[in-house]
Symmetry: C2
Subunit: 106 residues, 2 copies
Protein backbone atom coordinates (compact mmCIF):
# COMPACT_ATOMS: atom_id res chain seq x y z
CA UNK A 1 0.00 0.00 0.00
CA UNK A 2 1.21 3.47 -0.77
CA UNK A 3 2.42 5.41 2.25
CA UNK A 4 2.38 8.79 0.52
CA UNK A 5 0.60 10.12 -2.53
CA UNK A 6 1.77 12.79 -4.99
CA UNK A 7 5.46 12.69 -4.26
CA UNK A 8 7.59 15.36 -5.96
CA UNK A 9 11.11 14.00 -6.45
CA UNK A 10 13.75 16.69 -7.03
CA UNK A 11 17.48 16.80 -7.47
CA UNK A 12 19.48 20.01 -7.66
CA UNK A 13 22.93 19.64 -9.18
CA UNK A 14 25.95 21.08 -10.95
CA UNK A 15 27.56 19.54 -14.03
CA UNK A 16 31.23 19.07 -14.74
CA UNK A 17 30.57 20.78 -18.10
CA UNK A 18 30.94 24.49 -18.82
CA UNK A 19 27.69 26.52 -18.72
CA UNK A 20 26.29 26.88 -22.23
CA UNK A 21 28.45 24.05 -23.60
CA UNK A 22 27.31 21.44 -26.09
CA UNK A 23 28.06 18.80 -23.44
CA UNK A 24 25.68 20.51 -21.02
CA UNK A 25 22.91 20.65 -23.63
CA UNK A 26 23.46 17.01 -24.54
CA UNK A 27 23.24 15.91 -20.89
CA UNK A 28 19.98 17.79 -20.32
CA UNK A 29 18.42 16.51 -23.56
CA UNK A 30 19.38 12.91 -22.81
CA UNK A 31 18.08 13.18 -19.26
CA UNK A 32 14.78 14.60 -20.45
CA UNK A 33 14.35 11.95 -23.13
CA UNK A 34 15.41 9.02 -20.97
CA UNK A 35 13.66 9.87 -17.72
CA UNK A 36 10.32 10.99 -19.18
CA UNK A 37 10.06 7.63 -20.98
CA UNK A 38 10.08 5.72 -17.68
CA UNK A 39 6.61 4.68 -16.47
CA UNK A 40 5.17 6.75 -13.63
CA UNK A 41 7.16 9.94 -14.32
CA UNK A 42 4.85 12.95 -14.69
CA UNK A 43 5.38 16.73 -14.75
CA UNK A 44 9.09 16.33 -15.55
CA UNK A 45 10.77 19.73 -15.62
CA UNK A 46 14.30 20.98 -16.07
CA UNK A 47 14.89 24.17 -14.04
CA UNK A 48 17.77 26.58 -13.83
CA UNK A 49 18.73 27.20 -10.18
CA UNK A 50 19.39 30.96 -10.11
CA UNK A 51 19.81 31.81 -6.41
CA UNK A 52 23.36 32.97 -5.64
CA UNK A 53 22.92 31.33 -2.22
CA UNK A 54 23.66 27.93 -3.78
CA UNK A 55 26.44 26.90 -6.18
CA UNK A 56 24.20 24.25 -7.76
CA UNK A 57 22.86 25.38 -11.13
CA UNK A 58 20.22 22.94 -12.37
CA UNK A 59 17.26 21.05 -10.96
CA UNK A 60 15.21 18.13 -12.25
CA UNK A 61 11.71 17.79 -10.83
CA UNK A 62 9.21 14.99 -11.42
CA UNK A 63 5.98 13.94 -9.78
CA UNK A 64 4.88 10.39 -8.92
CA UNK A 65 1.35 9.30 -8.03
CA UNK A 66 2.67 7.60 -4.89
CA UNK A 67 5.79 6.17 -3.31
CA UNK A 68 5.32 2.82 -5.04
CA UNK A 69 5.52 4.54 -8.44
CA UNK A 70 8.66 6.35 -7.28
CA UNK A 71 10.26 3.10 -6.12
CA UNK A 72 9.50 1.47 -9.48
CA UNK A 73 11.15 4.40 -11.29
CA UNK A 74 14.17 4.26 -9.01
CA UNK A 75 14.66 0.55 -9.77
CA UNK A 76 13.90 0.83 -13.51
CA UNK A 77 16.81 -0.28 -15.75
CA UNK A 78 16.57 2.93 -17.83
CA UNK A 79 17.00 5.02 -14.67
CA UNK A 80 19.83 2.85 -13.34
CA UNK A 81 21.55 2.95 -16.74
CA UNK A 82 21.27 6.75 -16.95
CA UNK A 83 22.74 7.13 -13.46
CA UNK A 84 25.65 4.83 -14.26
CA UNK A 85 26.55 6.07 -17.73
CA UNK A 86 25.71 9.80 -17.53
CA UNK A 87 24.92 11.02 -14.01
CA UNK A 88 27.97 9.66 -12.17
CA UNK A 89 30.59 10.84 -14.69
CA UNK A 90 28.97 14.19 -15.58
CA UNK A 91 27.56 15.52 -12.28
CA UNK A 92 29.99 17.33 -9.97
CA UNK A 93 27.66 17.80 -6.97
CA UNK A 94 24.00 17.24 -6.15
CA UNK A 95 21.34 17.13 -3.45
CA UNK A 96 18.01 15.29 -3.55
CA UNK A 97 14.78 16.40 -1.88
CA UNK A 98 11.44 14.58 -1.97
CA UNK A 99 8.41 16.70 -1.23
CA UNK A 100 4.87 15.95 -0.10
CA UNK A 101 2.32 18.74 0.16
CA UNK A 102 1.19 19.50 3.71
CA UNK A 103 -2.37 20.77 3.90
CA UNK A 104 -3.20 23.69 6.21
CA UNK A 105 -4.16 22.61 9.72
CA UNK A 106 -7.71 22.90 10.92
Amino acid sequence: MALVTRLQHTVVFRLVHAPGSAEEAAFLATARGTLTAIPGVTDFTVNRQVSPKSDLTWQFSMVFADDAAYAAYDAHPAHRGFVETRWVPEVAAFQEYDLVVEQPAG
Copy 2:
Protein backbone atom coordinates in the same frame (compact mmCIF):
# COMPACT_ATOMS: atom_id res chain seq x y z
CA MET B 1 12.48 45.31 -16.71
CA ALA B 2 12.11 41.78 -15.46
CA LEU B 3 15.08 39.53 -16.19
CA VAL B 4 13.24 36.30 -15.50
CA THR B 5 9.57 35.36 -15.44
CA ARG B 6 7.80 32.75 -13.31
CA LEU B 7 10.39 32.40 -10.59
CA GLN B 8 9.79 29.61 -8.05
CA HIS B 9 11.38 30.58 -4.73
CA THR B 10 11.99 27.67 -2.38
CA VAL B 11 13.58 27.16 1.00
CA VAL B 12 14.12 23.77 2.58
CA PHE B 13 14.70 23.84 6.33
CA ARG B 14 14.65 22.17 9.71
CA LEU B 15 13.07 23.71 12.81
CA VAL B 16 14.47 23.80 16.33
CA HIS B 17 11.10 22.39 17.47
CA ALA B 18 10.27 18.72 17.93
CA PRO B 19 8.42 17.07 15.02
CA GLY B 20 4.68 17.09 15.71
CA SER B 21 4.98 19.72 18.44
CA ALA B 22 2.59 22.60 18.97
CA GLU B 23 5.52 24.97 18.34
CA GLU B 24 6.10 23.40 14.93
CA ALA B 25 2.42 23.72 13.99
CA ALA B 26 2.35 27.34 15.18
CA PHE B 27 5.43 28.22 13.10
CA LEU B 28 3.97 26.68 9.94
CA ALA B 29 0.58 28.32 10.44
CA THR B 30 2.11 31.74 11.07
CA ALA B 31 4.38 31.41 8.04
CA ARG B 32 1.47 30.44 5.82
CA GLY B 33 -0.70 33.28 7.05
CA THR B 34 2.00 35.92 6.97
CA LEU B 35 3.71 35.08 3.69
CA THR B 36 0.59 34.43 1.61
CA ALA B 37 -0.68 37.91 2.57
CA ILE B 38 2.32 39.59 0.92
CA PRO B 39 1.61 40.95 -2.59
CA GLY B 40 3.04 38.88 -5.44
CA VAL B 41 3.12 35.56 -3.60
CA THR B 42 1.26 32.83 -5.53
CA ASP B 43 1.05 29.04 -5.28
CA PHE B 44 2.39 29.06 -1.71
CA THR B 45 2.84 25.51 -0.46
CA VAL B 46 4.19 23.89 2.67
CA ASN B 47 5.84 20.55 1.89
CA ARG B 48 7.28 17.83 4.05
CA GLN B 49 10.78 16.87 2.86
CA VAL B 50 10.78 13.07 3.14
CA SER B 51 14.02 11.95 1.46
CA PRO B 52 16.41 10.36 3.96
CA LYS B 53 19.24 11.81 1.86
CA SER B 54 18.71 15.21 3.53
CA ASP B 55 18.27 16.05 7.21
CA LEU B 56 16.04 19.04 6.34
CA THR B 57 12.38 18.25 6.96
CA TRP B 58 10.22 21.07 5.56
CA GLN B 59 10.05 23.18 2.42
CA PHE B 60 8.21 26.38 1.57
CA SER B 61 7.59 27.04 -2.12
CA MET B 62 6.09 30.12 -3.74
CA VAL B 63 5.88 31.43 -7.28
CA PHE B 64 6.42 35.02 -8.45
CA ALA B 65 5.43 36.43 -11.82
CA ASP B 66 8.94 37.79 -12.29
CA ASP B 67 12.10 38.74 -10.43
CA ALA B 68 10.78 42.23 -9.68
CA ALA B 69 7.82 40.72 -7.80
CA TYR B 70 10.25 38.50 -5.89
CA ALA B 71 12.44 41.47 -4.96
CA ALA B 72 9.38 43.38 -3.70
CA TYR B 73 8.41 40.40 -1.53
CA ASP B 74 11.92 40.06 -0.19
CA ALA B 75 11.97 43.73 0.86
CA HIS B 76 8.39 43.78 2.20
CA PRO B 77 8.15 44.66 5.92
CA ALA B 78 5.92 41.66 6.63
CA HIS B 79 8.57 39.34 5.18
CA ARG B 80 11.42 41.08 6.98
CA GLY B 81 9.47 41.00 10.23
CA PHE B 82 8.72 37.29 9.89
CA VAL B 83 12.38 36.53 9.23
CA GLU B 84 13.52 38.52 12.24
CA THR B 85 10.94 37.41 14.79
CA ARG B 86 10.25 33.80 13.76
CA TRP B 87 12.65 32.45 11.12
CA VAL B 88 15.94 33.35 12.77
CA PRO B 89 15.08 32.04 16.27
CA GLU B 90 13.10 28.96 15.17
CA VAL B 91 15.00 27.59 12.13
CA ALA B 92 18.02 25.39 12.84
CA ALA B 93 19.27 24.99 9.24
CA PHE B 94 18.08 25.91 5.74
CA GLN B 95 18.97 26.16 2.06
CA GLU B 96 17.33 28.36 -0.58
CA TYR B 97 16.91 27.51 -4.27
CA ASP B 98 15.26 29.70 -6.92
CA LEU B 99 14.05 27.88 -9.99
CA VAL B 100 13.21 28.97 -13.52
CA VAL B 101 11.77 26.45 -15.99
CA GLU B 102 14.07 25.62 -18.89
CA GLN B 103 12.19 24.73 -22.05
CA PRO B 104 13.38 21.79 -24.17
CA ALA B 105 15.95 22.76 -26.80
CA GLY B 106 14.96 22.81 -30.44
